[in-house]
């Protein structure tokens, strides 16, 4: 099935795209999708362990199961700065 993946901040630079439509297996989870995304970039980055994921604009856990047409956003830590 197809999902649309959005990349923000440093991830956009790392992946080299603002968004991609990716093919994932039926009932793939957020975690599965992250593996697909990470495998397609040659560059290592610790951001993969620190990012949050939103599915259809709601924060979602790694175990959430995706559905056809979902909008999945990969979100680097937001830029808080020192309080």
């Amino acid at each position: 099935m197809l999902v649309r993946v959005l990349f923000f901040g440093v991830l956009k630079d790392l992946v080299g795209a603002e968004q991609q439509v990716l093919e994932v297996e039926h009932e793939a989870s957020v975690g599965d999708l992250l593996d697909v995304c990470r495998d397609q970039t040659s560059k290592q980055s610790e951001v993969w362990t620190r990012l949050a994921v939103a599915v259809n604009r709601e924060y979602a856990s790694r175990s959430k199961v995706l559905a056809e047409g979902d909008e999945v956003a990969l979100l680097p830590p937001v830029s808080g700065g020192r309080p």
């Binding site: 923000f8 901040g9 949050a52 939103a54 979602a60 956003a73 680097p76 937001v78 830029s79 700065g81």
Partner: protein, 151 residues
């Protein structure tokens, strides 16, 4: 609740004037501005970007949660995106309340929570290069599942 994402200069005076009501005794404002340095490096400007629709949803949720949680009457949250120069306001939070304690507490809670959970990023342009500002790790409830609405 006046919650907005804008590309132009934030109209602080108008937002302040609009929010005040006869029931209020206190207004607390947080005005986040672009600083000329970060960890000793001189900043030229910042570029802000957002996952816009989600950021707006999150900001609306924050305004509602703050009102419920602290019992304040009104909350305004306005964030600017795009290129911002030194001294310009990137985010403005205004809380109006009958008493000052709740206004301060709510205003601080909103900016602290916004800075951790609202999907907005900034790229800092220094004289010798640009970097995405490093954020703090997401709160546990953000990475482990949908954020619960409070209040």
């Amino acid at each position: 609740m006046n919650v907005a994402i804008v590309e132009d200069v934030i109209a602080t005076e108008a937002i302040l004037a609009e929010i005040k009501s006869g029931e209020d005794g206190a207004v607390c404002v947080f005005d986040g501005i672009v600083r000329n340095h970060t960890r000793g490096r001189k900043t030229l400007y910042l570029d802000y970007e957002a996952y816009r629709e989600m950021a707006l949803d999150q900001m609306r949720g924050l305004a509602q949660d703050a009102a419920a949680r602290f019992g304040v009457r009104e909350v305004a949250i306005v964030h600017r995106l795009g290129r911002l120069l030194i001294g310009e306001t990137s985010v403005l939070i205004v809380v109006a309340s009958a008493h000052r304690g709740a206004a301060f507490d709510a205003c601080r809670w909103v900016i602290d929570t916004l800075k951790k959970t609202v999907p907005i990023w900034k790229k800092e342009q220094f004289e010798d290069g640009a970097v995405w500002a490093d954020g703090e790790p997401f709160p546990e409830e953000v990475v482990s599942g949908p954020a619960e609405r409070m209040g």
